[in-house]
Amino acid sequence: MAEEIILNWTDPNSVRKRIHVRAPQEVAWQVFTEQMGSWWPLAVYKIGKANAVDAIIEPRVGGRWYERGDDGSTCDWGRVLVWEPPSRLVLTWDINADFQHDPALQTEIEIQFIAEKGGSTRVELEHRRLDRFGERRGEMRNVFDKTGDWGKLLTAFAQTAEASANG
């Protein structure tokens, strides 16, 4: 009997998310791009030494995506690759396994804002090109394997970020 070959080619280097937002497309775009500091979990997800008080996307192709600390310092997260208000945004995510900015990393985040009837919006996010973490993926795995649930992961993240900041 001939051997049967089965292929499963799902891209492991991409994470996709989809949410429905009860807000018009324009509002969803505006809140995401102009008011990121009002909703991004800055207490946890920041890379600088200072307390982060804002997250900013410069509204143009090539613009910076960065956090601003309470001491006025800034730390880059990535760049704007595509700027198509109010429907499509592509950013690079240049934060490496040490939770530090590495402009060479360039994983990509595409966010689409799709208007739906009734004045709501479907937001689709893809974080892709995770292969660019390369060998460093293993290091990230070590961080995660030492910990169990999500709460512990957050602690590990904060500790790693602080260690990087102090080191």
Binding site: I6, I19, H127
Partner: protein, 71 residues
């Protein structure tokens, strides 16, 4: 597929040798998959990260929209 079985087999052997795919055998069936070792933990972490972050975004956008509807 417009290629012969043996050509497919040969291509898969090359991918396997390069560490790009893993193969599991079950009787006469061979399942070829992209090698996910190393990337799964990262994906799990990003999965939770984006759930939390997009959830916070949704709340903020809906708050702004509700306020605009009231005024």
């Amino acid at each position: 597929m417009g290629v012969t079985r043996s050509a497919v087999s040969q291509h898969l052997q090359v991918l396997k040798a390069a560490g790009l795919v893993v193969v599991t055998a079950d009787g006469t069936r061979r399942l070829y998959q992209v090698d996910r070792r190393g990337v799964d933990a990262l994906r799990r972490w990003l999965d939770g990260f984006w759930d939390e972050t997009l959830g916070a975004f949704k709340q903020a956008a809906e708050r702004v929209a509700a306020k605009a509807r009231r005024s």
